[in-house]
């Protein structure tokens, strides 16, 4: 039950682009570029989902692909744009690590996830194994982004990157969860993004800034 022979190499290519986009999201120095890269990341994710659905003839995954396309490439970036406009924050991203160093760390993380997952023979995904390692790499990169960023808004982007990685893992190993659960997750992500937005506003109201360093002052 598999599709045309040209589809797997094409999926490999898109998966590679996904990885490159995750790296771009981590190193891009501007907030707007970050959000655009997140939208691109989600678009590529939707492409992979569509490819999986067509390759293995599982039509219900297509609905998840359409939801990804609408929610993550259009709605959530728009929410972010509006948030930035209303907050009037500075447009550049502040990190603890400079760009070459974070590139080295992220390639190391990709390396670790590739080799770590390569030995996991327990997972026998229907689509070939590399998507598992790419999903795990995306997860790691999202965590890396969350830990190295100073501002709350880019940390939220890291969280969304993790979510994308989980979604990729779910789709390529199990063809996604049952549709009802999938829709529930999408709703969660959307509501999560909105709540994060409110949260970011509250943080700014309480601390006059989004710098997460200042939260350490709360410690006794």
């Amino acid at each position: 039950m598999t599709g045309a022979a040209w589809m797997l190499p094409a999926l490999h290519f898109v998966a590679m682009l996904l990885l490159v986009t995750s790296l771009a999201l981590i190193v891009s120095p501007q907030l707007f570029a970050c959000i655009r890269f997140y939208a691109l990341h989600s678009f590529l994710l939707a492409l992979i989902t569509t490819g999986t659905a067509l390759y293995h003839r599982v039509p219900h995954v297509l609905i998840a692909a359409v939801l990804t396309l609408v929610l993550k490439t259009i709605v959530i970036p728009q929410i972010f744009y509006r948030m930035i406009r209303r907050l009037g924050i500075r447009r550049d991203v502040e990190t603890y690590l400079n760009i070459p160093l974070s590139l080295i760390f992220s390639t190391l993380l990709v390396f670790i996830s590739f080799y770590g997952v390569g030995n996991l023979r327990a997972i026998k995904p229907p689509l070939s194994q590399e998507f598992v390692s790419i999903a795990v790499a995306t997860l790691f990169l999202g965590m890396f982004m969350m830990t190295t960023r100073k501002k709350a808004l880019t940390q939220v982007l890291g969280l969304l990157l993790i979510e994308n990685g989980l979604f990729l893992l779910g789709v390529t190993t199990t063809f996604g969860m049952p549709l009802l659960v999938e829709i529930g997750i999408f709703f969660d992500v959307l509501v999560g993004a909105i709540i994060m937005g409110v949260f970011v506003f509250k943080i700014r109201g309480a601390f006059e800034g989004l710098d997460m360093d200042q939260l350490t002052m709360l410690k006794g």
Binding site: W6, L8, P9, A10, H12, F13, A15, M16, L17, L19, V20, L23, V27, N98, I99, P100, L103, I104, S106, T107, V110, F111, F114, G118, S128, Q129, E130, S133, I134
Partner: protein
Amino acid sequence: MNLAGSLLQGLVLLAVAPASGWFIKKMKAASQNRRGPSLVQAYADLGKLFRKNMVISDQASWIFHAMPIVLFCSTVIAAWMIPAIGAEPLFGFLGDLVVFVYFLALGKFFLALAALDTGTTFGGMGSSREMTLGSLAEPAFLLTLFALAYRTQTLSLSGMASRLSAEAPLDGLYFMVPAFGAMLIVAIAESGRIPVDNPSTHLELTMIHEAMVLEYSGPYLALIEWAHQIKQLIFLTLLANFFIPSPALSVASPAAALLAVLIFAAKVLSLALLVGWIEIHCAKLRLFRVPDLLGVAYALAILSMLGQLMMGSWQ
């Protein structure tokens, strides 16, 4: 016949090197509503320099005199090691891609050394910058070549080119695209084009290559400039022959040779268009931001390598 074809190919490479630089210059001029120099000008400049007298500092040691010759010869040897139009490369027997990369590095080493030799401030500044960037670009370049060599299972440059062009285009896309990105960045950095270095500036604070050759004049300067143009053509040729798929070319008969030359010209010109397009649309990066760009090249090269190890290895 075979040797004659190889020799001819090598001489053509040397002859068209100024033209490839001229093409980018002309394109840039067109984007700024200028007419730009004519093709003859590219050669007339070199000819003029060859006829002029030299002014040489009395503080200069033998390194100052040796550098233009070492630079030119090492660049020409490197140019004759790469697969270009279709004939067997003349110095293909000399060695593999590591030797090729270090022939280029030898020229760069002497360039930096000669810039320090006369003891001017700009020379020292230029060579320290060149070495900083070179030490970052070289691993990225080697890693990209190794990634491609891993796929083709050969270290010889012409073997790599022929096997890469025989690859099914879609199957190889996932590692070719990152490798292309990495090599393009390295090519721009090594040939001193705009996001990294501005070839047409003489502003002290920004120049890299120009700062190193400030003390040179006459035939020496002509050799250095020519070597620089050949180096740029080397990178364009490598990019063209590795990443643009084409049918197998030969120079066995005049008709086949003509076709090969036309295809080669089209490939190199399209890449020159890309480099020129980047040059038109980018501002020069601050020197301290250039390592970021080269870091991106390094990461892309690693991804290209890792991708090959991973994709389709577990079915």
